[in-house]
Symmetry: C2
Subunit: 369 residues, 2 copies
């Protein structure tokens, strides 16, 4: 790992706007040529919200040949599902349903929540129940899924401790920058999460895809490095990944944090509150209605447009129509916001109804592990 490469910080709030850098500097490949290889490309694939990948062809081949593969991700149980965690969850669910031979693995990163945020395990265990209910409500099939808390999965902790032999402090510093010691440990445990589906107990080596946000690539690079170092011992196939764009803050701030609740949507927001957040959001509109009629809006800069594009409008034609109406100056921001607030509210109502019905199942699923 060269010291001169820019460091992407998965624990930070770096905004990565120029995704092409990732292609050049970190070797992530464009998703472009692979989208059409999927039988039914997901919304994220069709709209290039997933913009890049590593070794995704292995998964495509496994689907084609009816071979087993795994899709793996996780969540740091520090709070309710937001649009970022929703995205990852939907990606897992999408891959899980692509083949009867697909299994999903979902790590509740409670060790990381402790190391990074100081959240006690009892507290994160409760948050995890809510998170898993979201996951089930979004469509995860629990029969082909392994959902677990890191702190209860000895194989992951054991892998994490084994991998500590495969790294050096300088290597971790080059990948992550200077961090709290505990974060390096949780990074190694996370590598354990990603490689878990390839242990004998889980049927042995197989292709694995990890859908992540672009900011999580350091974890993927560390994992690929260690998978290759420990290949002789475990037979690991180097895991692949897909990379999605990061959702922007609703209000245009650089940071989405608990201190700025208006800047992000939670799947637990009441439809009213969510609506208010949408109405309050930054658009790509012009200073005046007149100008907007004349020049058209700029959907590329519009967070409201992004909400529909990424999350809340499934119909591609509808999204295209909104785009065209906007750039042609036919669609004004006020009405557009109201329309999107309506989409969001409709989704949340339906989702929250389902989610409620899955709480018991979530608790049960987690208590098994």
């Amino acid at each position: 790992m060269g010291g001169k490469r820019p460091i992407i910080d998965p624990w930070g709030t770096t905004r990565i706007d120029d995704y092409s850098k990732l292609f050049k500097e970190f070797g992530i490949e464009s998703i472009e040529p692979l989208v059409s290889k999927f039988p039914h490309p997901s919304r994220y694939l069709r709209r290039r919200v997933i913009f890049g990948h590593r070794d995704l062809q292995r998964i495509i081949e496994a689907i084609r040949d009816g071979q087993p593969f795994a899709v793996m991700s996780g969540i740091k149980p520090t709070g309710e599902f937001h649009l970022g965690t929703k995205m990852t969850a939907e990606e897992i669910i999408y891959f899980q349903h692509l083949s009867p031979k697909a299994v999903a693995s979902y790590a509740i990163a409670d060790v990381e929540a402790y190391a990074d945020n100081g959240i006690p395990f009892e507290e994160s265990a409760e948050i995890a129940v809510a998170n898993v209910a979201d996951l089930l409500a979004l469509g995860l099939d629990p029969k082909r899924a392994y959902v677990y808390r890191q702190s209860a999965e000895i194989r992951v902790l054991k892998l994490g401790s084994m991998f500590s032999r495969g790294v050096t402090y300088s290597m971790l510093k080059a990948i992550y920058g200077v961090k709290q010691f505990g974060l390096y440990i949780s990074a190694l445990i996370q590598v354990g999460d990603i490689l878990l589906p390839q242990l004998k107990d889980f049927g042995g080596p197989k292709p694995v895809v990890v859908p992540v946000g672009a900011d999580q690539d350091p974890h993927i690079r560390l994992t690929r490095d260690l998978a290759s170092k420990y290949h002789d011992q475990f037979g690991f196939i180097i895991p692949g990944a897909t990379y999605h764009k990061l959702i922007h803050s609703l209000t245009g701030e650089a940071k989405m944090s608990k201190r700025t609740p208006m800047s992000y949507l939670l799947l637990s927001d009441t439809p009213e509150l969510a609506g208010e957040k949408v109405l309050n959001a930054l658009t790509g509109g012009r200073e005046t209605v007149e100008k907007q009629r004349k020049l058209g809006g700029v959907p590329e800069k519009c967070v409201v447009y992004e909400l529909g594009l990424f999350h809340f409008i499934d119909d591609d034609d509808k999204v295209r129509q909104i785009y065209e109406e906007c750039v042609k100056g036919i669609r004004m921001c006020g009405e557009c916001k109201c329309e999107h607030a309506e989409y969001v509210a409709r989704f949340l109502k339906e989702h929250q109804r389902k989610r409620k019905s899955f709480i018991d199942a979530a608790r049960k699923l987690l208590s098994q592990k």
Copy 2:
């Protein structure tokens, strides 16, 4: 932790001859005033092989008041028991038998054996069986003992990962020096081992004593620091320790390593081989028999004398007699070596007979965890 303190390296082979340094610089206290407080001071206590302690009065009080306490140690399963591991084992067994309220905890540090020596877990599991058979043959009562492998004890791995939040890289560097990353992790896991007996599952906070060699103090200091940092969460009582002198190399080399097998005794050595090692050992004798008759020998410099003093002669009068005969020039090295070789052989024969009968019990004890 001040950066200027000399670093004792538990993974190295530093010979610590000047134990008084440990009192001054690291705050270890002399065992002297406490020896008489024990109902039946052990050979190691009586002869000041155990020369120092931290907070041992807590254990003495617990014995006096019939309160529960724990004695804790462990072994890195890299090979057969030698005189150092025998010493720790006998110390544990001694404390375990001091009170019906005493429990013993014995960690098989297989994670450390992997991180430090690259020994695969399957291999160390077999070594551990032999080690535990030694432990039982030396007198451990398995009914009041918890013997486990680190890699199979999720509570220890979980504590280790939690404690990573309580340390910094500079702090670890100050305690241990610059080491492989994996060793820092195994140090944290070892802190988990030491604090395990105070978890709720094991009856909650209680005084704990860790009998160690003088070179292991860095682990004790790190543990005491973390026990205090995590006091609010777990109620930990700061663990204490006893410190024993390190046995010298039989042949006078600075390092006892697998490359110099004549320099150390294994409890698995045949009595013949052990005898040969003793006959080959360095003594405190003079250059000539004449000089020795005139000046006497120097038992303080004699590794053969040390064998009897530390390990193989239980009768204090006998040891005293040997000492006096030596310094008075009555006892010559040749006969003295033969006599000690005989003590060693007698011990090994008896021990190996017992040990053999404990192999199955050892396997069973370890398979429970």
